[in-house]
């Protein structure tokens, strides 16, 4: 019963927060919130959606890269909107999303709404003229709830896509109990991390310090790009990172070469990888979902992967500082800086029917962000919405991520490959890193990616 009361209080405080923000900004058409209902699905204030007219029986199709098991809580979070408006949401997740979406758009078969995981892809799609500008209701919500992220959804001064989910990539998953058994301590600098890896490799015998995997269907290679970006932020700093992302310095700049070499010290070291899977090359054929699992059976100690990896632990795995698995911040070079690499999705609309606009508005609202936290399954429920109630986040990793995202000492940077033009960020960077893992040298890899940058 304690949980019941707690949830009820949380829900009430959420509504209060909404009401407070709404009155503070004075933009809401309706002052009072609905009385909160406790339980798995809560109801929301339907007033903002009645403005779009009668939506009963209408359908909105959603196309995303979020597949099972991460999709179910997503779908659950639409329920209040569905109850409110009678709109049916058709959800479709695909692992080949990045390649298939442009095909569908070109073929005149675009979904109503797509969750773009990459601002670079947004940029490409805007050029085709298929994406509709965000309705004013959405823009108002974003100004209010996630102003820092607005520029990622803006192309040439027009605002198109509102941020949706957010994640933190600068995490290393590990087993606290295994660390305790061996007397290892969570490293706080990059040098410490390498030294610890060295120690583990020397003591481990068959147990490797690192687990890694970059296979992800059509998107194979992306986890390796995250490595490079994370290390780039640490070795070159945020300013050089921005220049690199915007191609103000070439892709094969010495600063990038330094970062890649640093990543190579771990990923291309047969002594350090690949716990339970084989040699370095197995990184290319191990799916990123499977990659971290050997932490549980003790064949590797660490797995660098984003906060959303929480959803991939088997059901019943205890995630927490004292649990079976937990995550630590990927150390920076020294304590003077704390760069945080993150990512997120953006809702782009290919139709401007009233029901689509209404759904977009819902997704950018505090109500949705809170509902997302409430219906959250195994984690990965942090949103870019800074007005969402952080106390609703049940998962410890989500709490950790929310802290990292709002930490005033941290320098947040969006995933670089997601910001680069699609041809590089969702193409040659992925391919280049995959080839790098199976043996291509640093220079050839960087040169290959540089020559593919659209002129």
């Amino acid at each position: 019963m304690a949980l019941y009361t707690k949830r009820r209080i949380a829900a009430l405080s959420g509504v209060l927060a909404v009401a407070l923000t709404a009155t503070a900004c004075g933009s809401s058409s309706d002052g009072g919130g609905d009385t909160a209902e406790s339980g798995s699905t809560s109801s929301i204030d339907c007033a903002p959606y009645t403005a779009f007219g009668d939506l009963k029986g209408k359908t909105v199709t959603v196309y995303t890269s979020i597949t099972a098991p991460e999709d179910a809580p997503h779908i659950a979070s639409y329920q209040p909107f569905v109850d409110c408006t009678g709109v049916e949401i058709k959800y479709e997740g695909s692992k080949e999303f990045e390649a298939q979406l442009p095909v569908r758009v070109k073929g005149g078969n675009a979904p109503d709404i797509a969750y773009l995981p990459q601002p670079g892809l947004l940029n490409t799609l805007v050029q085709t003229g298929a994406i509709k500008a965000a309705p004013p209701e959405v823009a108002a919500n974003v100004d209010k709830n996630m102003p820092d992220w607005k520029n990622y959804g803006t192309v040439d001064g027009t605002f198109y896509a509102a941020p949706l989910g957010a994640n933190v990539k600068s995490f290393v998953w590990y087993s606290p109990s295994a660390f305790a058994d061996k007397g290892y301590e969570v490293p706080t600098t990059w040098a410490d991390l390498l030294a610890l890896s060295e120690k583990m490799a020397a003591e481990g015998g068959d147990v490797k310090p690192w687990c890694a995997g970059i296979e992800s269907g059509d998107a194979t290679g992306w986890p390796a790009t995250d490595w490079v970006e994370d290390v780039m932020l640490r070795t070159a700093g945020a300013e050089t990172y921005d220049k690199w992302v915007n191609h103000e310095i070439p892709f094969n700049d010495p600063a990038v070469a330094t970062a890649l070499a640093e990543v190579g010290k771990i990923l291309k070291n047969d002594k350090f990888v690949n716990g339970g899977f084989g040699d370095v090359k197995t990184i290319a054929s191990t799916s990123f979902q499977d990659a971290g699992q050997p932490i549980l059976d003790g064949t590797c100690y660490m797995h660098r992967q984003a906060s959303f990896y929480a959803a991939n632990w088997p059901e019943g795995t205890e995630v927490g500082p004292e649990g079976e698995v937990w995550a630590f911040y990927l150390p920076s070079v020294d304590s003077s800086s704390k760069p945080v690499l993150g990512g997120g999705e953006f809702t782009a609309a290919f139709a401007d029917r009233p029901e689509v606009k209404a759904f977009q508005t819902y997704l950018s609202s505090v109500e949705w962000a809170d509902e997302r936290a409430k219906t959250c399954g195994t984690g990965g429920c942090v949103t870019a919405n800074k007005n969402a109630d952080p106390s609703l986040l049940k998962n410890p990793v989500d709490k950790l991520s929310a802290e990292a995202l709002t930490d005033s000492a941290a320098t947040f940077r969006f995933d670089g490959s997601d910001l680069m033009p699609g041809a590089v960020g969702a193409g040659t960077f992925w391919k280049g890193m995959t080839d790098w893992i199976i043996g291509k040298d640093d220079k050839a890899t960087l040169d290959f990616i540089e020559q593919s940058w659209p002129k």
């Binding site: 442009p102 095909v103 059509d218 084989g278 290319a284 199976i438």
Partner: protein, 338 residues
Amino acid sequence: MVSTVIGAVPAAIPEPFLRAQSVPGKFFLMFFAIFFFALVFGLVLFLASLFKGKNGERVQGALFVGPAVVLLAIGLMYPAILTINQSLRGRSGEGGLTLSNYSAMFTQPELLLVLRNTALWVILVPILATSIGLIYAILIDRARGEAFAKALIFLPMAISMVGAGIIWKFVYQYKQTSRPQIGLLNAVLKLLGFETQQFLINAPLNTFMLIIVMVWIQAGFAMTVLSAAIKAIPDEIIEAAKLDGVQAFKMFRYITLPSIRAALVVVVTTIGIGTLKVFDIVRTMTGGQFDTSVVANEFYSQSFRFNAPGLGAALAVLLFILVIPIVTYNIIQMRKEA
């Protein structure tokens, strides 16, 4: 008159029906399509019946061929011209006239590798599949349990390329030697005391491992056609040769091979064309990574993933050009037969 009536019909159909999203909409669209087809067909028959005599026959012929030609022009010629045009307009397929895509194709190391792989496929698959099919067909000819033996090798034909790709991906599955093996091939290696291999990652071995899958599928086709051709050799010829004391190998060299020459050409060229277009196997098994990409797969990657539709179009044109000689040879052979 007729065309205006047809043109007027869609305008009268409510929007949701045309989008065929509802069940009645789907049925409506289906009946409309059948009706339209019957209308065109009836019209052609009616017009053809108006012409008589020698000259009339020509008009009739033209009338019957007409719809097919029109459809081919819309569905095949027009896109082909668009593709060629796109391939001449740079990476994005939208710039000014340039041959940059074609020069990239023959200078960029990554794309040269694609061409090398395609060459390997086109040379190896037809030769291997046809020889295996031929040897098998001869060995089982008139043997006991022929039907069963034939079914064994023909069965893979029934599996889609994607299905075959997935099956073989399991066969090639890699696990460290010290761990329990899932992949059949590596399990055998381990049993024999060898190190397990990463068949799909180690280049250039991986390309050959993929080629095996295609051969596995196509050998059945070759065997079926060639077996039928062997059975069609007149018994008199064989008996005459036997009376002359011809030995087994000479029988094959001087009797069987010349008799089934036409069938062999058809088999080799058909498999050759199929191999040029190979996409599904590469896509499901490696996604074209680890140096295994072939032209058809690279065309997809460039067009849809690397955002270089111009380069993709150039690869498609190359594929088109490569197929032309094979098709032409095939047609010439068929004419000789007729």
